[in-house]
Amino acid sequence: MDISKKQTAILEKFAPYIERFDTKSRVWIGLLLAVIAVGLYALILQIVEGHIVTGMRDNVVWGLYIVNFIFFIGISYGGAILAGILHLFKVPWRRPIMRIAVLTAFISALIGPIFIILCIGRFDRLHFLLIHARLQSPIFWDVVAISTYLAGAVLFMYLLMIKDFAIYRDSEVLDLPPWRKKLYTALALNYQGTESQIKQLAISKNLIALIMIPMVVVVSSVLSWIFGMTLRPGWHSTIFGPYFVLAAIYSGAGSIVILMWIFRKAYQLENYLTDKHFAYMGYILLALGAGYGYFTFSEYLTSWFGSERWDEEVIDKLFSPSEYGWWFLISNVFAIVIPIVVVAFKKLRTPNLVTLAALLMVFGMWIKRYLIVVPTLETPLLPIQDTRPEYIHYSATWVEWALTFAGFATFILFFIIMAKLVTIVTVSDYAEEKK
């Protein structure tokens, strides 16, 4: 396969990151493995002792695990739909971002469902979901949605990588051990850049990108319906579907910005991920942030104004400083106000500040997921009465926190590993320029 000069230059630039693990990444991997080990210890404890070691109890039956599930799966959906849109509309500045977007989609789609398994009391019976499946249950819909989506995300990522695998296979710049060459040879599926291969691959990529966009809308809505279908105040809302879709894309875009900044710093990619790219991603954040703000406003305005008794009880908890008031405020300032303000003013629209805004926003979105799950569960229709005092409020235990951090550590670890396996910039996308 022909490799242009420009591509060779990119490969030379990336060779040190691809060829071997340097000391810095070894240290990182060691640290991350330590965090994951603590998480595994917590998991073993949870398996041996039962869910009694978590902070979940009879009223708040879902806690941090579900929060992390929504968070990671949301980021994944966001990465996938953004990659799909950028690819399908041939957005000119997409090239250095695509790989980060599809990797985000793939890796967080692996981590999200792990948290569901942690939340389930009997994960030894997980296969019952298939052999005793009930079509009526929104959880079954979600099983179908997530597995379909995962297959789509893997295919999407892979199709966007085939050309690169062929380049890694044929490049003489990269000094790779034989097993890596063999791996790339297998993964490249004998792609040689013949005319029919180019055409077929282009059609396949367009098709999967086209499929991913509506698919994300559907699967993200299905996720929201786990909450929306119940008769609970704060959940039983008709706008939950679109609200979740938008929140997913938003937090996905934010995560991509953070990862762009990290890789730009770590790999000195200033020539690829330019200030312009951060500004453009900033515009996307602004538009999504405004949409998210609109949904948040209309959701809480209607239930506050209508002030039905049950709705009001949840709203009271979210608005009063002694309960969740501060967190609610922080989540809205971080996820709505700050990104819009930072991107709106040209002076503030620098890579560092846009990234900081994205970081705060992603954190705010995590808090928001917590505020969706926990306060509603603390507000059942019947008064919480004649029950043990520790059942009234939820407070996560170290086991849940350890597994939460282990989840984030796994996310970073997988990213480090994937960034060794493939270049973080899609090499093959830079071919056209040479023509």
């Binding site: 869910h51 009879d58 039956v61 009526q136 249950s137 019947l382």
Partner: protein, 321 residues
């Protein structure tokens, strides 16, 4: 046909009478076994008079009494289908409840629950600021349109033709979706607490009708004691109640009994303006409430004698001030 119905009714009344006898027995056993628990065990030197099968009256130390729980062996299919021809219904008389909490302890003994786990709870309700407080015993409502059954992904919780909503703890994966779906906070989860099930417990362990033994990591709840009902006996909360709060019976036969009094269900609902809690949710509960009119106890009676830790549970309603 009508003869058959008559027979059924007679049969039921006979069973009701049995229930009364059993109520007396049940109470005896339960009051003793509850005395046994905790620190009270040391001072439980009460003796109880019992009639042996030979017709002899003997006095036994209550410490030696043990709850014996016999069940009929039935198949999974039977446990899933329900008792043919029945439509179980309950009416709870709010005018009679004084929070004696015997239903709770009887239920715990019946299902071998640890003392801090309650399937039946008694709430102190006050519907509005100026409204009158009243005691509100709450079982599972066994809804005809059950939100919990709708959401179960593995068919572990199901609705039977006799109206009961049960859980197969061998099937439950513990996703807890049913717990979030139930608007009445009826369901409890086995977070990992150990329960003591006697070895001679003559039951088939995977029978959802007994709900015993409970499995860690699965959901459980009030089951209307279908194992007792299948043998023509009343659920234990009904027989244990000293005030006859719970009326249980078959809606097809239109008869309910609280152990001492057997009445027509439709007449009871009509005369006492029976209602279903949160009717507007559309869940169609099988449990009816009779409004607390002409109460036989002042509401404070159920509060004053409670131990401090239980009192603490009702502090928000503010009976003290």
């Amino acid at each position: 046909m009508s003869e058959l119905q008559n027979n059924n009714r007679r049969d039921f009344l006979k069973k009701g009478a049995w229930g009364v006898t059993l109520a007396a027995w049940g109470q005896l056993v339960f009051s003793c076994s509850s005395g046994e628990e905790g620190e009270a065990a040391a001072e439980a030197t009460d003796t109880v008079k019992l009639l042996t099968p030979d017709g002899e009256l003997v006095e036994v130390d209550s410490k030696h009494l043990k709850h014996i729980h016999k069940v009929k062996k039935i198949s999974q299919q039977q446990a899933r289908a329900g008792i043919p021809g029945k439509k179980f219904v309950m009416a709870i008389d709010l005018a009679r409840c004084n929070n004696a909490r015997k239903c709770i302890t009887a239920c715990q003994a019946m299902h071998h629950l640890p003392s801090e786990k309650e399937w039946v709870t008694v709430k102190l309700m006050k519907d509005s600021k100026d409204g009158a407080p009243y005691w509100f015993p709450k079982t599972c409502f066994h809804c005809d349109n059950p939100p919990c059954v709708k959401v179960c992904p593995v068919n572990a919780t199901y609705k039977r033709q006799d109206g009961l909503v049960l859980i197969d703890s061998e099937r439950c994966i513990g996703c807890k979706f049913c717990m979030t779906a139930c608007p009445y906070s009826t369901r409890t989860f086995n977070w990992g607490e150990k329960e003591e099930v006697p070895e001679d417990f003559a039951t088939h362990p995977d029978n959802p009708e007994t709900s015993v033994p409970s499995r860690p990591g699965t959901v459980e709840k009030c089951d209307f004691c279908p194992d007792m009902v299948r043998m023509g006996k009343l659920p234990d909360c009904v027989t244990a109640c000293p005030n006859g709060v719970f009326y249980f019976g078959d809606q097809n036969e239109d008869v309910v009994t609280n152990g001492s009094e057997t009445v027509r269900f439709s007449q009871l609902i009509k005369d006492r303006s029976g209602y279903r809690y949160m009717e507007d949710l559309g869940t169609e509960p099988r449990v009816w409430y009779l409004p607390p009119r002409d109460r036989i106890f002042p509401v404070e009676r159920g509060y004053e004698s409670l131990p401090e830790e239980i009192k603490e549970r009702y502090k928000d309603v503010g009976l003290d001030g």
